[in-house]
Symmetry: C2
């Protein structure tokens, strides 16, 4: 794109997205200055999220043949999206030319399925992190992971930390601090239960039981997709 055009950021939108994976970083990155944000989906129809409301695409795959930054959120809808040819084709197309290829939460699995993380280190939601290895991606237990022009955040709320780190990389630390102040991002979680290392055994067991109930075959599905995706 011409230097005079705003920096273009394309968020992928798909059914079953964890909406905060997208809306958290979109809030931060909308304050980059001279930026154009699109929520990009297969069609312009409203897209169901995991939180009982829909998000409205601003553009379709055909409308966005290239972008400066592509960001892929996660959620339970990631597995069907990893098996969707049009979604993978669009990711490969925009990923090839983007300055930054990024993800939040299990969005890194979708980037991996598109072949965009092969040989890279990446973050993911803690409960799905090991699935990255099916795609020859190195899982990293960090909140935000930079590897060349690939940047990934951990689970859901890590999208805010990811986006502030990306803001600093693009516009400098002073601008990132300004955005942080504007969003009053001085977090004070009322409990200390935000990672498997810090959560108590009962909370962890309850989470694992919920995943087992809602998506018992998830690891096997992701493994099968990875097997089919090998060239």
């Amino acid at each position: 794109m011409a230097d005079s055009a705003p920096l273009h950021i394309a968020f992928l939108l798909f059914p079953g997205v964890t909406q905060l994976d997208l809306t958290g970083p979109a809030q931060v990155l909308s304050r980059l200055g001279d930026v154009k944000i699109d929520l990009v989906a297969k069609t312009r129809d409203p897209v169901e999220t995991d939180a009982q409301f829909q998000l409205l695409p601003t553009a379709t795959f055909a409308d966005v043949p290239r972008t400066d930054i592509v960001c892929v959120p996660g959620g339970f809808g990631v597995v069907p999206a990893m098996d969707d040819a049009a979604t993978l084709a669009w990711l490969r197309q925009v990923g090839a030319g983007a300055q930054w290829v990024t993800s939040v939460c299990t969005g890194s699995l979708l980037l991996a399925a598109a072949g965009l993380l092969t040989g890279y280190r990446a973050a993911c939601h803690w409960a799905s992190r090991e699935h990255l290895a099916f795609f020859d991606v190195e899982p990293v237990a960090e909140r935000v992971v930079f590897d060349r022009n690939r940047v990934s955040g951990g689970g859901v709320t890590a999208g805010i930390d990811f986006a502030l780190a990306l803001t600093a990389a693009i516009r400098g630390e002073a601008h990132a601090k300004f955005v942080q102040l504007s969003l009053e991002y001085d977090p004070a979680p009322p409990f200390d239960s935000g990672s498997p290392e810090r959560a108590d055994a009962e909370t962890l067991a309850r989470y694992r039981a919920m995943v087992e109930r809602l998506a018992p075959d998830r690891a096997e599905q992701v493994r099968a997709i990875a097997r089919r995706s090998r060239p």
Copy 2:
């Protein structure tokens, strides 16, 4: 509502909302279990946010004559909304019967304009906090403030802390810890610039200059609305 009905949560949606004020707590509260979430606006038309995309209402004011929890987000659109009779009338109507009357960021100013915080303590975005006093509301410099059944969060990202605290109040601490783990809410801000006390002088001056540029008359507008709203 009957005890067998899901807990109903109504988020107010208005043009110029800071979308993360709404989408952050909506993500957390969607995991309360047995809950029904609505984004409520004057009409069903898509509503412009501050982040270059629209949010789609799930219901209109007329559709939601009562709710269990009302939550009002903030943003630059708060000032026109404080002057909108239909919005204030709906807030008064649902606020009168709700179990919890809540806000995030400058949403507390809108609750105040509807007369729902008179004599209460409340949080607000740090840069607008003192405006609460125009409405005989006590401004509190805390991340989350409970006062009887009024619960308010500070600026933008405080909505996540607010919603976890409310989750604990409604479903107990164990459930809140479970939700926190599911959202991997183990924040790691890359900088320490999230409050006026922690930000450096240059960042603070830049923020104040931005507000002065975008909304030079804000304090006076809010004061005028407060004056008109007195019975």
